[in-house]
Amino acid sequence: MSEEVKTPKLDDLEKGPWPSFVSEIKTAAKTNKMAKDLLGQLEQSYEDKIGHWKHGGIVGVLGYGGGVIGRYSDLPDKFPNVSHFHTVRVNQPAGWYYTSDILRKLCDIWERHGSGLTNMHGSTGDMVLLGTTTDQLESTFQELTAIGFDLGGSGSAVRTPSCCCGQSRCEWACYDTMKLTYDITQHYQDELHRPAFPYKWKFKMSGCPNDCVASIARADISIIGTWRDDIQLVQDEVRNYSKAGLDINRDVVNNCPGKCMDWDGNNLAIENEYCVKCMHCINAMPKALSPGKDRGAAILIGSKAPIMQGAQLSSVLIPFVKLDDEESYKDLYEVFDAIIDLWCEEGKSRERIGEFIRRVGLANFVEAIGLEPTPEMVGAPRDNPYIFYQIEK
């Protein structure tokens, strides 16, 4: 621990107003040799303009097929303390809520068994414990479970579900995202820890169409809250926004994608039949407007990053479901299970569900899982006349 590492390049990144990850690594490096070698290797990367990690290998804890990402330095002689530097993915509590207490306990565990460095949080949602050796994995795991935490997902498995804070803090949440997330996570424990799918499978839950966990862009199943009835509207508060300087015509009415609003300077009229629940007017005037009372969610399917057929956004599978109780969760799981079964049977290796659907065709897919095709599933009907008519012969 004694000898100082020279890191002239990284040092530059300790300057400036934004909190510095370099300072974080240096702090850890004061007492942790893995962190110290990480600092050294990273400086080396900054010199060489290249990463110094070898292709990952599979490591893990007994009985689990995922939750740990194996990582090895390609300069083990120079940086022996990161020759093994695996990350542990720890399933975060829904909504990323913590108490000071529980955070301290987590820190204590990671002080004993790892680099003392973390990501709060990983892109999927896990708490990521950055860097440890193979022999520390089991003890880390056991201490985590002892305080009530479990590993997150990796590999061809259900990945750690995540959600926006929803009803815990947000007035717009159309269903209880945190409750559903907790329930889904528990329901799919086996599928989360023991990869057995063609590829990864992510669930993300947002309470309203603002989609604060970006579920539509990066979840195999995106559950996005919405409503069916009229927007709740307090005319007086609209007038207050107007008085306070909001240009309701220009900034609200003209931005309405449903083109269903009218503001006469005193009264805001909404033709709710044509409202597409985009949230804009509500976002702009939170005190005056709020989602209707008949709330639920739309279920979308299939988003993913580009590899390999190009990135996809999730698309509508079920336009609206009520999600008021556990009964309704079970109905959802039935749909998900039918999808997963089909995909496990017919999906190719490393083919995400979104790519699978595009390959077999949305209509065939919908039919195979026992749903009816509905116009909500498409942005528009086909424009090419290449129709596979099926007629009795």
């Binding site: 107003p17 990690w53 990501n119 709060m120 539509i216 956004l313």
Partner: protein
């Protein structure tokens, strides 16, 4: 071994979130009525019962030492009854009921280097990935570029003078772990050299059919070299995606000279006003120039400035470009338009301009 074997606990999932909720939330769960932004980084949610929850949001580099987390815990104890949370963009939020504690909290956060902001029409934290800190695939570092950019854009984090929200994301390779593909501005690490094939190792470490199948453009062909079963890459078909490397360590894409990053603009996720959409290519390549990637920082700053100056209220980056058109975007930002901008992948034909809606100047 001890006599009574301690039962190994598995499959418990995460702790129930309720354990970590402040009382005000438990009492008002699902009853929030509206919110107001009180100042940059500070908002209040008011419930049907008139209860109030104050949130103070502070910046985070995401990569945190346990030392820093403990400091957050101390601050939470001091100001927010020990309650805090992290956001979907990796900021940290302190959840309070006592409004008077807000200024000293902000002061404490500042003193440990964590500015408060990111709420409302502001830039929030940059969602990012591992980079050279932990990933084998990285074509660039993540944390370093993010730090350099946020140092430059800090004023737009701590104030609220943007036309709308500005979401920047960063991913260090085409796997796009940051899901950058729907961001107002996305930075994406790119390779530009053919895979270096390790013909000695390949036959031992990789399955050739799997490897061939991994290539989106079918650039990989089995071939025998010196009697060994290995593969070759058809130069004109390779677009450097590194998917081959993901399935086979003997196909190295990382390259100190030619790796770098690309910049994408105009994506969004929310359904507010317009539908969610992908980001589109703005700058095909900028070099890796650590520690501060000045070219990338400058490019982002320029795009943000031009948007800020020209966009109307509520116009996210992509909505602004919708209105003014891509030709104007390139003109105003002074970014050269090149061959690389024109799509040539699967749906390329649908990206061509099939109307005369052109600003013509």
């Amino acid at each position: 071994m001890s006599e009574t074997v301690k039962k190994r606990i598995t499959d418990i999932g995460p702790p129930h979130y309720e354990k970590f909720l402040p009382p005000v939330i438990k009492a008002n769960y699902g009853k929030w009525k509206y919110h107001e932004i009180l100042q940059p980084g500070v908002m209040v949610h008011v419930s049907e019962t008139n209860a109030k929850l104050f949130t103070v949001r502070a910046a985070s580099p995401r990569l945190l030492s346990i030392d820093k987390i403990r400091k957050f815990a101390d601050i939470a104890d001091k100001f927010s009854d020990g309650f805090l949370r992290f956001t979907s963009r990796n900021n940290v939020e302190f959840l309070m009921t006592d409004e008077t504690k807000i200024p000293p909290l902000i002061e404490d956060l500042r003193s440990i280097g964590h500015p408060v902001g990111g709420i409302g029409p502001a830039i929030s934290n940059i969602v990012h990935t591992q980079g050279w800190v932990h990933c084998h695939s990285a074509a660039t570092d993540a944390s370093g570029v993010v730090k350099a950019i946020m140092d430059e854009l800090i004023d737009d984090f701590t104030s609220m003078s943007l036309p709308g929200k500005l979401r920047i994301a960063f991913a260090c390779c085409l796997n796009m772990c940051g899901a950058v593909h729907c961001s107002d501005i996305a930075l994406l690490g790119v390779h530009r050299k053919l895979p270096e094939i390790n013909h000695d190792m390949l036959p031992k470490t990789c399955e050739i059919p799997t490897l061939s199948a991994s290539c989106p453009t079918a650039a990989i062909r089995p071939v025998t070299i010196d009697g060994k079963q290995t593969v070759e890459v058809l130069e004109e078909k390779c677009m450097f995606c590194a998917n081959c490397f993901t399935v086979c360590p003997s196909m190295k894409l990382n390259n100190s000279e030619f790796d770098g990053l690309s910049i994408w603009v105009g994506g969004k996720v929310s359904n507010a006003r317009t539908e969610p959409r992908f980001s589109k290519l703005a700058i095909p390549y900028l070099p890796n120039n650590p520690p501060r990637w000045p070219e990338a920082v400058e490019a982002v700053k320029n795009i943000v400035d031009v948007w800020k100056k020209n966009a109307r209220n509520f116009e996210r980056m992509g909505e602004w470009i919708d209105r003014i058109g891509w030709p104007k975007f390139f003109k105003l930002t002074d970014i050269p338009f090149q061959k690389e901008h024109i799509d040539d992948f699967k749906h390329a034909g649908l990206t061509y301009k099939t109307s005369t809606h052109l600003t013509q100047s």
